[in-house]
């Protein structure tokens, strides 16, 4: 009985959520474009590698110009650039998504708890946050990269997430602090609802749009940091990704000096730019997605 009730409730509430999503996205053309870009890259990352087998190497056509066989030409080993761009996106996106996941996990939890608990817990957590914020993340990553192999997106994502949650935590905490003063939280405490309930059901939905926005922004930053580390060759790599492509284009292909390798440089560069743009354009819709008040404006 209770199950059916909740089921009914969830069915009822899901449909409007879908329509709200559609409405929020279609309100502005920029958002549609943004979403399309994001979806495109996600599909690319998920399905792209399925279309391709192992990266073929052809020493007889190094840096070949674009042709019917190789739409974007070939690289230093005669491999297809398009294939590399497509298969290389998976690592980049997976890492960014994972790091965003870790960031939100740490950032939102710590921010919420600090904002709600106050007192000693708060100060301790905030000192930790200050520390994470103060330690320059990139140098740290570079140092860490000599100790730790960033081969899998998991590891890279974890490290980026561990060094990157400070901003989210701060933001969430300040939101939580202001929420704390709001009547409904006092009411929830007065009613004797559990702390878990208050954190998850009362506060979380209210900080969600903010957190989501921070998250997407940090995702952009993560893509930048991660690709940058590979680009500078600071982090050893074990598979093709956009950063590696950039690195090889510039440092071994001479893309800055000769046009023949330029497309090898531009392909990942354009991908990063477009993906960033997509996220930026889509960000606009987030607030509306989470906020029931905005959602309703016809």
């Amino acid at each position: 009985m209770a199950a059916t009730a909740t089921l009914a409730a969830s069915v009822r509430s899901r449909r409007p959520a879908l329509t709200a999503f559609r409405k929020a996205v279609t309100r502005k053309p920029g958002r549609i474009i943004g979403l399309a870009i994001i979806v495109f890259f996600i599909l690319l990352a998920i399905c792209g590698p399925w279309f391709y087998g192992r990266l073929a190497v052809d020493p007889n056509s190094l840096y070949a110009a674009p042709s019917a066989k190789h739409w974007l030409g070939t690289d230093f080993a005669g491999s297809d650039v398009l294939q590399e761009v497509v298969t290389g996106g998976r690592y980049v996106l997976a890492t960014a998504a994972l790091s965003a996941l870790f960031t939100s996990l740490f950032g939102v939890t710590i921010g919420l708890v600090a904002g709600y608990q106050r007192g000693l817990t708060d100060s301790a957590l905030m000192r930790l946050t200050d520390f994470v914020l103060t330690i320059p993340g990139l140098p740290l990553l570079i140092i860490l990269s000599t100790v730790w192999n960033f081969g899998s997106p998991w590891k890279m994502g974890l490290v980026l997430g561990v060094t990157g949650w400070g901003g989210v935590a701060r933001a969430v905490r300040s939101q939580a602090l202001s929420l704390r003063e709001r009547g409904f939280l006092e009411a929830a405490r007065g009613l004797g609802l559990s702390r878990r309930h208050i954190l998850l059901k009362e506060m979380l939905p209210n900080v969600a749009p903010y957190a989501a926005m921070q998250l997407m922004l940090s995702m952009i930053a993560f893509i930048g940091a991660e690709v940058g580390l590979f680009f500078l060759g600071l982090v050893p790599f074990s598979s093709t990704n956009w950063g590696v492509m950039l690195n090889q284009a510039v440092f071994s292909g001479g893309a800055m000096e000769t046009p023949s390798a330029l497309i090898y440089l531009l392909a990942p560069l354009v991908c990063i730019l477009v993906l960033t743009l997509g996220i930026v354009l889509f960000l606009d819709a987030i607030d509306e997605l989470f906020n029931p008040r905005l959602r309703e404006r016809v």
Partner: protein, 330 residues
């Protein structure tokens, strides 16, 4: 003013504690790195034709430092020296105090970062105001997107594009170094001119890097100030537009001081990419090099300095804020 002093003291104390934490953290982190300072040099000697024994001996002569003290007592020693302002001696530049290296590198990071900050502040804030005032128009929207995009695009992408366009393609500006070697460093016009010329691209890169942040912050700040009651009130009182603009400006700038500290951090992080791309010998470059050669003291020193700079930027931003806002001043 005593309250002000107390606040300052509190901030400084917190900053010092943070510095200590960072010192500790870096010390142990850096010493946990695999590899020894001499290893790279050794292989270089070998590859330049020295035999193994000779190379090993030479490496030992130069890097001979092998402390048998426990990590903890080394840490104590390091802290003690640090208290006297001694960052130790570089390993790879044997005999050179770390502080010399850092002092030499510091201006090449701080000056471009600050100039970049200034430039991006001026442009970003202006653009932010425009984006806020014209937020419903196409131009406002475009400006905002440009801000988000620049805030999102990685530093090295910007640096690379600048380099391709202004050096490779148009050949207008030099691509590396801080000045032309012909000119005698000092306060003479040719040298300064050369320094400026070399700094243009890095400064541009820094500026572009933080432009987006300023724009977005200023935009949201102006939007919120525009919605403030006192702005409407001043309109209803018939206050002159110029005066109202000043009201809006000063109130909107206030929250940007928080962004200032943040921006500083972003730029220091970006300095790695930018200094590497433009071969600019700043702190980021120093740290990168020292990591490659396992120069622990330099690594720890550079890392510390970057952190301290960020902490100081935070404190300064806070002070600026207090100086401008009467609500927290008193």
């Amino acid at each position: 003013m005593t309250a002000f002093a107390r606040r300052l003291a509190g901030k400084l104390a917190a900053g010092l504690v943070m510095v200590w934490v960072v010192v500790t953290f870096t010390f142990f982190l850096v010493h946990a790195l695999p590899g020894k300072p001499g290893d790279v040099q050794y292989e270089q000697y070998i590859q330049s034709g020295m035999n193994a024994e000779q190379a090993a001996a030479k490496v030992k002569a130069i890097y001979g430092y092998t402390s048998h003290d426990s990590m903890l007592s080394q840490y104590g020693g390091y802290l003690g020296k640090l208290l006297h302002g001694d960052l130790g001696q570089s390993i790879s530049y044997s005999g050179v105090p770390v502080s010399h290296l850092i002092w030499a590198a510091l201006p090449w990071t701080v000056i471009p970062v600050l100039s970049g900050l200034l430039v991006s502040f001026l442009i970003g804030v202006t653009a932010g105001v425009v984006a806020a005032v014209r937020r419903s128009s196409r131009w406002g929207g475009l400006l905002t997107v440009s801000g988000s995009l620049f805030a999102g695009v990685p530093a090295f992408v910007l640096a690379l594009l600048l380099l391709v366009v202004f050096h490779t393609e148009w050949n207008l500006l030099p691509d590396a170094g801080t000045s032309d070697i012909q000119y005698d460093p000092g306060w003479n016009l040719p040298y300064i001119g050369s320094v400026v010329q070399h700094a243009v691209l890095p400064v541009c890169a820094y500026a572009l890097l933080s432009y987006g942040g300023w724009l977005l912050a200023m935009k949201s700040s102006v939007v919120s100030v525009l919605g403030d009651d006192f702005i409407l009130a001043s309109e209803l009182r018939g206050i002159a537009p110029v005066t109202r603009a000043r009201y809006i400006g000063r109130n909107a700038i206030l929250p940007l001081f928080t962004v200032l500290a943040l921006s500083f951090g972003v730029m220091f992080a970006g300095s790695f990419f930018i200094e590497d791309t433009f071969d600019y010998p700043g702190l980021g470059d120093l740290l990168l090099k020292s990591i490659g050669t396992r120069d622990y003291p330099v690594m720890a020193g550079a890392f510390l300095l970057i952190t301290v700079s960020i902490i100081i930027a935070n404190i300064l931003a806070d002070l600026c804020y207090t100086l401008i806002d009467p609500r927290v001043r008193r």
